[in-house]
């Protein structure tokens, strides 16, 4: 591949991820509004929010690490997007692979945790301790899912994993081949996105939104950008592992929007789990499903 072509991909992939991610934020807010019988925000609201927050006059910083934390949160996802293949663009997916991608997505979490830590607000730190505990919980089934899909494809290269699923239509999709892993992955996705019943770490009425408690202005704006990337990454990753990736942009967009809509659509059905219940849940049912799915893959 010519270097200019690659450079173009490396610029376009995070840029498109951001805009698509904003579309996902809008979709989720619309779904939430519909379920609560509200109209919901206008089309450009996610963009307005980000611009408004960045344009605020008062930007309170608790120190350099508070600021660098937000930079890491955005930067980590910008880099992660180049490891996620999309129709017509592979970026550097072949230089990293699935495990690298999984670990790359932890960089923004680390950045956020560092930034929140410097704010010296107990609600923020409690929120981070809960969020990290949640990560420990949902990553166990998630890692089993990653293992199963990579083992089934005998590759950690996402380009190859997608190509294998596109070889024989829907029948070769991960969802059809390994439905138990797909189900476990969906449950892990609910935790990853912090949707009910797994949103104890934000718990607005208890710890005043937890990690976001000291975030205002461009700090919160940075987290809004991070959320766009987070939704996009989760949707594309699940699509790449179980829904055959994107044959073209139309099917790709339909799939990734459908994937991220599921957690939101079912979120309001649940109350909130306490941290220990959340851990107990993820280490029980999704892990059991993933292990069962894995047993089918290995034999």
């Amino acid at each position: 591949m010519h270097w200019t072509h690659l450079l173009l991909e490396l610029i376009l992939m995070p840029l498109m991820a951001f805009f698509i991610g904003m579309g996902m934020v809008l979709t989720l807010r619309k779904i939430g509004a519909k379920l609560q019988r509200r109209i919901g925000p206008p089309f450009f609201q996610p963009l307005y929010d980000i611009l408004k927050l960045h344009a605020k006059e008062t930007q309170s910083s608790h120190g350099l690490i508070h600021e660098i934390g937000i930079v890491m949160a955005i930067g980590g996802y910008v880099a992660a997007e180049t490891l996620l293949p999309v129709p017509g663009m592979n970026g550097i997916a072949q230089q990293g692979g699935l495990i690298t991608l999984a670990y790359m997505t932890m960089i923004p979490s680390l950045g956020l945790a560092l930034g929140v830590g410097q704010c010296a607000n107990p609600n923020g730190s409690i929120g981070i301790s809960r969020a990290l505990t949640a990560m420990l919980a949902y990553d166990v089934p998630f890692i089993l899912v990653v293992f199963g899909t990579a083992y089934a494809a005998q590759s950690t290269n996402l380009v190859e994993i997608i190509a294998a699923q596109q070889s024989d239509g829907i029948a070769s999709w991960g969802l059809v081949q390994n439905p138990l892993l797909a189900l476990a992955g969906l449950l892990a996705l609910q935790g990853m996105l912090g949707k009910q019943p797994f949103e104890i770490y934000v718990a607005p009425a208890e710890i005043a939104t937890g990690p976001m408690v000291e975030m205002g202005g461009k700090f919160l704006g940075g987290l809004f950008i991070m959320q766009c990337f987070q939704l996009y990454t989760a949707g594309v990753l699940y699509t790449s592992l179980f829904l055959g990736g994107g044959e073209n942009w139309l099917t790709f967009l339909v799939k990734i929007f459908a994937v991220v809509s599921i957690p939101m659509a079912i979120a309001y059905l649940f109350p909130r789990f306490r941290t220990e219940d959340l851990v107990r849940f993820f280490w029980k049912w999704p892990t059991f499903l993933a292990l069962l799915g894995l047993a089918f893959v290995l034999h």
Binding site: P14, H54, A55, T58, Q59, S60, S61, H62, G63, L64, I65, I70, M72, A73, I74, G75, G76, Y77, V78, A79, T82, I92, Q95, G96, G97, I99, T100, Y103, M104, M106, I107, L110, G117, Q118, A120, P122, S125, S129, R130, T133, L136, D139, V140, I143, L144, A150, Y151, Q154, T156, E160, I200, A208, G217, K218, G221, G222, I225, R274, T275, V279
Partner: protein
């Protein structure tokens, strides 16, 4: 005189210098020169990429020749030993040592103990027969005890506990040597290597148990891990950093020599455990995984930064053993690479923590906080270190762990894989608590005037931080060392390049990954600093929670019981089973000792009479 002769000579001379001039003010430069000279001599041996080199002279003890020879494996471990010795001495050479002496301790004793450790290790990793290995092993045990016990009090108690373990391990190795001698008629490695294929599985299981426990004690493998964390944590700063880098790895070195280099992983796989699905390799792999998990989650519970890191040091050893046992090119490369990557990581982390101790007088995680504003470079070192320890990109620890994960994945070992990942996740939680409770959150009143660590401590810390980053960005050079070691041990050799590995399952290239990550940070910075208006720094007390403002005299304390939710769930799982096991084994040994005493009292009355007469004579005269 060849290069290996020179290395041994220089190592002995450095020890002598420490002994004679350790208390003088030019001891540190002299010793640094000594370690640097040893390093140059090591390079001159060319044992890594060239032919192995033997010592020009040998000894004969009880008709058994004692040889020393350096090959790629010896070179690799000696490099880490000398590097750790050099950096630890440099770290402790300036104001730290003056402070240490002011507290009533002797610089000369510390220098001598450190140099004795380095000398023992240089000797040990060159052993070409079991007699030389045992000599190096016992020398190292005593040198280790010497360095551990320096501070007295808790440190001395921890050192004595270590000594108990070390004696037990030494006896186990001696027992294995007797068995090997009976079978091979020699204690030299080559005849033993030739005789091993003729040994039955039963004999090999006995050897596995004896040598596995002997070497495993030094390594801190489960269930022989309890001694390590307190002993390493209570050792004075430079010694603690040195121990954490390489001391426990001597156990791994010996395991590699015997189990991989002599017995071979293929034979371990053939040694099936009756009525189970396990074989010798699986058993060791599961021990490695439990060594990852249990100490890591014990680390998570620690309230002292030194203990937290020391417990992680035990856990990280599990990744090394696990990687090597997978046996594939990538797996063993990951395991071996992790020895180096973890060494530079752990030394940097402990140096940062001891710098905090030097400035604040405590490493209690509940009595620190907010120090990033006062010690930003120490924070940077700790940050680089924790990212590497947790195995996240872009630092060195990520590369070695990634190789291990990939190997487990492609070898179809899902449960071991999940075990390794659970260890990593626990490490992430634990190291965040470490950095949060020391450097983030509120700065305490008593630390308002704390200053950055002194330059003599910062130089090694920042050098290591750079090394951690570079070893993650360009893993090619370190992988080339590892490839040479793999070839030496008869393992499949990893197909590496400057940025990572080539592999049929999809390789990876850290140069791309890290470059893109750095570019991502650049974009993040552009968005954050470019789009938004200028930010205004607010005071840490310009804050609220629970509807209350903060006052200087009335601050929050929220670092204690940091993972409350998780501990509600897993707290009851900590039943102190290993302490119970240790006490039970201690009681059994105690009982056997009494029994043997009684037996000798009956069977050898003359011996006791002689002892009594001697005792009376000593008392009278």
């Amino acid at each position: 005189m060849n290069a290996l002769d020179l290395l041994f000579l220089l190592s002995g001379a450095t020890l002598l210098c420490a002994l004679l001039f350790g208390r003088t003010r030019w001891a540190a430069p002299l010793l640094l020169l000594g370690y640097a000279a040893q390093f140059v001599a090591l390079l001159q041996t060319n044992a890594l990429f060239g032919e192995p080199i033997s010592l020009s002279w040998s000894l004969v003890v009880l008709d058994q020749p004692m040889h020393w020879r350096y090959d790629a494996l010896s070179w690799f471990f000696a490099l880490i030993t000398l590097g750790a010795g050099f950096l630890s001495t440099g770290y402790g050479s300036g104001v730290w040592m003056r402070d240490y002496e002011r507290a009533g301790h002797s610089a000369g004793v510390l220098h001598t103990a450190l140099a004795a450790n380095v000398f023992s290790m240089v000797l040990l990793v060159g052993a070409e027969d079991f007699l030389s290995l045992f000599l190096g092993w016992e020398l190292l045990n005593w040198a280790t005890f010497f360095l551990m016990a320096l501070r007295g009090g808790i440190a001395a108690r921890a050192a004595l506990r270590y000594l108990g373990y070390a004696f037990t391990g030494g006896m186990a190795i001696l027992g294995a040597m007797a068995l090997l001698y009976a079978q091979a008629g020699s204690l030299e490695f080559q005849p033993i290597r030739e005789s091993l294929p003729q040994m039955s599985d039963g004999q090999l299981w006995v050897l596995l148990a004896l040598l596995g426990s002997g070497f495993g004690i030094k390594m801190g493998l489960l269930p022989f891990h309890l001694w390590q964390a307190p002993a390493y944590a209570e050792t004075p700063g430079p010694g603690s950093a040195f121990f954490s880098a390489v001391s426990a790895r001597m156990g791994l070195y010996a395991m590699l020599v015997f189990f991989v280099g002599m017995v071979g992983l293929a034979r371990l796989v053939q040694m099936e455990i009756p009525y189970t699905f396990l074989n010798g390799r699986d058993l060791l792999a599961w021990i490695a995984v439990f060594t990852i998990i249990f100490p890591t989650y014990t680390a998570l519970q620690q309230q002292d930064a030194r203990y937290l890191l020391a417990w992680h040091g035990i856990g990280q050893g599990g990744y090394m053993v696990l990687g090597v046992l997978v046996g594939t090119a990538e797996g063993s490369a990951g395991g071996l690479l992790h020895i180096f990557n973890h060494a530079i990581t752990q030394v940097a982390l402990l140096m940062a923590v001891f710098a905090v101790l030097y400035r604040t007088g405590t490493t209690d995680l509940n009595r620190l906080g907010g120090l990033v504003a006062r010690m930003p470079l120490t924070f940077l070192t700790l940050l680089f270190g924790i990212i590497s320890l947790a195995g996240l990109p872009p630092m060195a620890g990520f590369v070695s762990k990634l190789l291990v994960y990939r190997a487990l994945l492609f070898e179809g070992m899902p449960l071991l894989f999940v075990g390794a990942i659970i260890g990593t996740l626990g490490t992430i939680l634990s190291v965040y608590k470490l950095i949060h409770n020391i450097f983030l959150g509120q700065l305490r009143l008593e630390h308002e005037s704390v200053q950055e660590a002194p330059l003599s401590m910062l130089i090694p810390m920042l050098s290591l931080s750079l090394l951690i980053f570079l070893a993650g960005y360009f893993p090619g050079p370190t992988l080339s060392w590892v490839a040479a070691v793999q070839a030496q041990l008869g393992l499949p050799v990893v197909n590496y390049h400057l940025g990572g590995v080539y592999d049929a399952h999809g390789g990876f290239n850290m140069i791309w990954i890290v470059s893109v990550l750095l570019a991502g940070f650049g974009i993040g910075a552009l968005v954050f600093f470019g789009l938004g208006g200028p930010s205004k720094r607010v005071h840490q007390l310009d804050n609220y929670a629970g509807g209350h403002f903060l006052y200087a005299e009335n601050r929050y304390q929220y670092s204690d019981h940091f993972y409350a939710g998780l501990m509600h769930l897993i707290g009851p799982w900590y039943r102190g089973s290993f302490q119970w096991l240790e006490r039970a084994l201690g009681s059994i040994v105690d009982f056997l000792a009494h029994f043997t005493n009684g037996f000798y009292g009956i069977a050898q009355p003359l011996l006791w009479s002689l002892a009594a007469v001697l005792g009376i004579a000593v008392w009278v005269f």
